[in-house]
């Protein structure tokens, strides 16, 4: 390598190097901070959900319809059957 009288001016690269180093480190620290904060928030919410109403969370939702609904359904089906049979009878009479 050649021996230079004065060193070359490469200070801009040095500054760029250190600036980029600090930017990357700060970005990583921010990412760590945000992820930890979000996890802490999530943990607080989940813990409060578990403490406040464990019975509500564990209890299954009622999906059975009331008994009256079943009775109404039977009544409606019977009526429909009667109506249909009456219409068929009328058609037969007309043809005759």
């Amino acid at each position: 390598m050649f021996i230079l009288d004065t060193p070359p001016d490469t200070s801009a690269y040095m500054v760029a190097g250190y600036v980029i180093f600090f930017i990357l480190m700060i970005l990583y620290l921010i990412s760590l901070f945000i992820r930890t904060r979000n996890l802490n928030q999530e943990l607080t919410i989940l813990e409060s959900m578990k403490v406040q109403s464990p019975s509500e969370i564990e209890r299954p939702v009622a999906i059975n319809p009331p008994q009256s609904a079943g009775r109404d359904l039977k009544r409606k089906t019977a009526k429909a059957k009667v109506g249909r049979s009456n219409r068929v009878k009328k058609k037969v009479i007309k043809k005759k």
Partner: protein
Amino acid sequence: MQTKSITFKILDIISVLLLATAVYLALVYAPEELQMGQVQRVFYFHVATAWTALLGFVAAGVAGIVYLVTKDSKWDIVEVSAVEISLVFFFITIVLGSIWARPIWNTWWTWDPRLTTAAVTELIYIAYFMLREGIEDPDRRARFGAVYTVVGSFSAPITFFAIRLFRTIHPVVIGAGDPSALGTFDMTSKMLVAFMFALFTFSVIFVDLFWNRIRMGNLASKVEQLKLSIM
């Protein structure tokens, strides 16, 4: 909500103070290198981040082995934490190296053995996180991750020894290297002080970040378990 212990806060403060001192030593205390000028000052952080990152990758491999033996999920958290911080440090190494190379080699990048192995190592560990993201079952994810880091950790010594095994333009500052390598220089005693201090500083910063990341990993695992218990 988790709160930081006093020891933890002290370590945070020590890390910041050490970093400030390392910056002072690198930018002010160490003399200017005559051949390369001011850009040579990048060397202190470039080597220190590389050293800690490569050690971190090896540590992740060791944690992977321990996980495979014990099946204890805490080793999975240790492994992920080591890989994540090493990945960030190694990315900084590559970027700083590229900035140093521009005025000295007249190029930002060249497919030199050291640079290539470094890029491959970085890519291997980026792929590690992609692999983990793709597996939902925590046990399976941890097992696959452990095997991957054990195999991947071989890339760290390969990268380290690349400049000693192959003909390369990357300088070997410590120990014998190719004399024709561009950017080689002899360290003065002040340079050596700044360099050793930077190595020590980044080791402490690594431990501090590692501790923070493990704490976050434990928190994430707690949240995951709570979610499962509620659902």
